[in-house]
């Protein structure tokens, strides 16, 4: 037993160090920093939060970002669901493995490189406009880059895989016989999807939505590189406070607000679906 105790502490100490030093304490510090004035005085103040509510640019960007993140999550679901269903139920596992590889490659290449790829594609002199002009379909380039359109493309591109995989996992446990039975009894495709496939994959849809929402609302590269002047993303306000104006305490308040909105949304999604956070990972 003594020996078992020793092993336990041997395992516990590094884990405690990791969680206390790099997860818990930094977030406690984020919380306290957000209530301190930037002057460096050792007092507590609500000033940083008041600025957020008084200055329209901050709270409107916050609402705008949240609304767009919900919209992109919905879009990611619509785009991804048919792909997940196709990979699990329509084609053979061998072909599915090949397509899965093609899905994973952009993920491992990383967000920055793929977003840069969209800069090349969508610009006024980009590959898409040049090709369309070359083919005689259009005469003058269509403005796509540095708009909300290009920003949404980027956000969708970097996040949709995280919708596809959880949905695929739940679809794998759906018995084909159930679909066949429904079809034999005269159910239309629409009814089968609505009454069998979607309800069965609901846990995967919720998990995917949580991860996509978190990635999108916390993203910086897609709005910053692909978005236009009007595509203000809340993370950009945090970056500005930390890296341009050096008002770290103001930035901490913004960061804490972002943490609250993302946690609250995740919590609401879990409550609505009756799931636990522990399950999201799978």
């Amino acid at each position: 037993m003594q020996d078992n105790k020793k092993a336990f502490y041997f395992l516990l100490i590094p884990v405690l160090l990791w969680l206390v030093m790099l997860i818990i304490l930094p977030h406690v510090d984020l919380f306290f920093s957000s209530f301190k004035p930037n002057s460096g005085e050792d007092t507590y103040t609500l000033e940083n939060y008041l600025i957020f509510f008084q200055d329209k640019i901050y709270w409107s960007t916050f609402l705008y970002t949240t609304a767009y993140a919900i919209g992109v999550t919905l879009l990611a679901f619509i785009v991804s669901f048919p792909v997940a269903f196709y990979l699990v139920k329509v084609i053979s596992p061998k072909h599915a493995a090949f397509l899965m590889l093609m899905l994973l490659i952009p993920l491992w290449i990383g967000e920055l490189v793929t977003i840069y790829g969209w800069v090349i594609l969508l610009g006024d002199k980009g590959a898409i406009n040049e090709s369309l002009i070359f083919l005689g379909i259009i005469d003058t380039p269509i403005t796509m880059l540095y708009t909300n359109f290009s920003m949404i493309i980027g956000l969708l591109y970097m996040s949709m895989l995280f919708m596809i995989i959880p949905i695929m996992t739940t679809l794998e446990s759906l018995d084909d016989a159930q679909i066949e039975a429904a079809s034999d009894l005269g159910a239309s495709k629409f009814t089968i999807f609505k009454s069998i496939v979607i309800p069965h994959s609901m846990p995967g849809i919720i998990n995917g939505s949580i991860i996509v929402f978190m990635l999108v609302i916390g993203d910086y590269l897609a709005p910053n590189i692909l978005g236009g002047k009007s595509s203000l993303w809340f993370t950009e306000q945090i970056y500005n406070q930390f890296l341009s104006t050096f008002n770290w305490n103001q930035g901490a308040a913004f960061g804490f607000l972002l943490l609250i909105i993302s946690s609250a949304t995740i919590w609401a999604a879990l409550r609505l679906s009756g799931q636990k956070l522990e399950k999201v990972e799978n």
Binding site: W18, D29, V90, Y220, E278
Partner: protein
């Protein structure tokens, strides 16, 4: 819809068309980069002006290729070092965390587990600023109260490694725990009954069983570190990692050398990913 059921041709071919469009969408940026890395012009995009390897090898004032751009090579080198250390640290602590949470029951276990998986749902930006604030605070106290000025608490190479490790360990833990769930504890009990200590049985029995998952998790952590921007940007000192360097080039000075670097990344990742699939198949 599924293979065993009849489908109308419109449904069947419509569906296939959608899937084809989806994968075109997925691969289009990668193809564009790969082609334009060899374009003989100083613009990053079309029109096509002929084939050249200048963006890899040239060393003139107008054209500086990837392999003669000292700044770029330096940031790649920094990224490789960071990724190696971050993956090593994440693999050790993540594996330990998996063993701890899978094999022991203790007070506050659920609370600790909650913090261990929290990085999955905390945006990378928040992790970055929190760790910056936390380390600056601790560094400040050490400096003013004890007169100890430790470089590790300021933005720089080591803070980047630690910052990325904070979420890297989470992913390693989950990947290793998934394999640990399939482990037969009778094996460990056998070792224990043969007078092995608890730690010996972990080292000689459990770890070898987990080896494939541990290696896989190391690669995953390495790639995550190499591509990370959101957390890293707040923690770097004077030496940028590759994503930070590429970001400032995209914003301020785009040349086709960006295509060349991106092409190299695409090439290496594609080879590694394809190889890993084939290795898995052979097993």
């Amino acid at each position: 819809m599924i293979q065993s059921l009849p489908n109308s041709p419109v449904y069947k071919y419509g569906y296939r068309l959608y899937i084809a469009l989806f994968f075109a969408f997925l691969l289009l940026p990668l193809i564009a980069i790969s082609v334009l890395a060899f374009n003989d012009t100083t613009s990053i995009t079309l029109p096509w002006k002929g084939f050249t390897l200048d963006w890899f090898f040239a060393d003139t004032t107008a054209r500086k290729g990837l392999f003669s751009d000292a700044d770029l090579l330096q940031s790649i080198w920094i990224s490789l070092q960071t990724a190696f250390l971050m993956a090593g640290l994440s693999t050790v602590v993540g594996t330990i965390a998996a063993l701890l949470f899978e094999q022991y029951n203790f007070r506050f276990k659920n609370l600790l587990y909650f913090f261990a998986i929290a990085p999955l749902v905390i945006p990378g930006v928040i992790l970055g600023i929190s760790i910056l604030l936390g380390s600056t605070y601790v560094g400040g106290i050490l400096d003013t109260k004890f007169g100890i000025d430790l470089e590790i608490f300021g933005p720089g190479f080591w803070l980047v490694v630690l910052g990325q490790f904070s979420f890297g360990a989470t992913y390693v833990m989950l990947l290793v725990a998934a394999r640990l769930k399939k482990f037969d504890f009778a094996l460990e009990e056998a070792a224990l009954s043969l007078k092995a200590s608890r730690l010996e049985s972990i080292w000689y029995i459990t770890i070898p069983f987990l080896k494939p998952a541990i290696i896989g998790a190391f690669v995953v952590a390495f790639l995550m570190s190499f591509a990370n921007f959101n957390t890293t940007i707040f923690l770097i000192g004077s030496d940028p990692t590759l994503p930070v360097d590429l970001y400032s080039r995209i914003k301020f000075s785009s040349t086709p050398v960006l295509n060349a670097v991106s092409f190299m990344i695409i090439l290496i990742i594609t080879i590694v990913a394809t190889a890993s699939v084939f290795i898995k198949k052979k097993k």
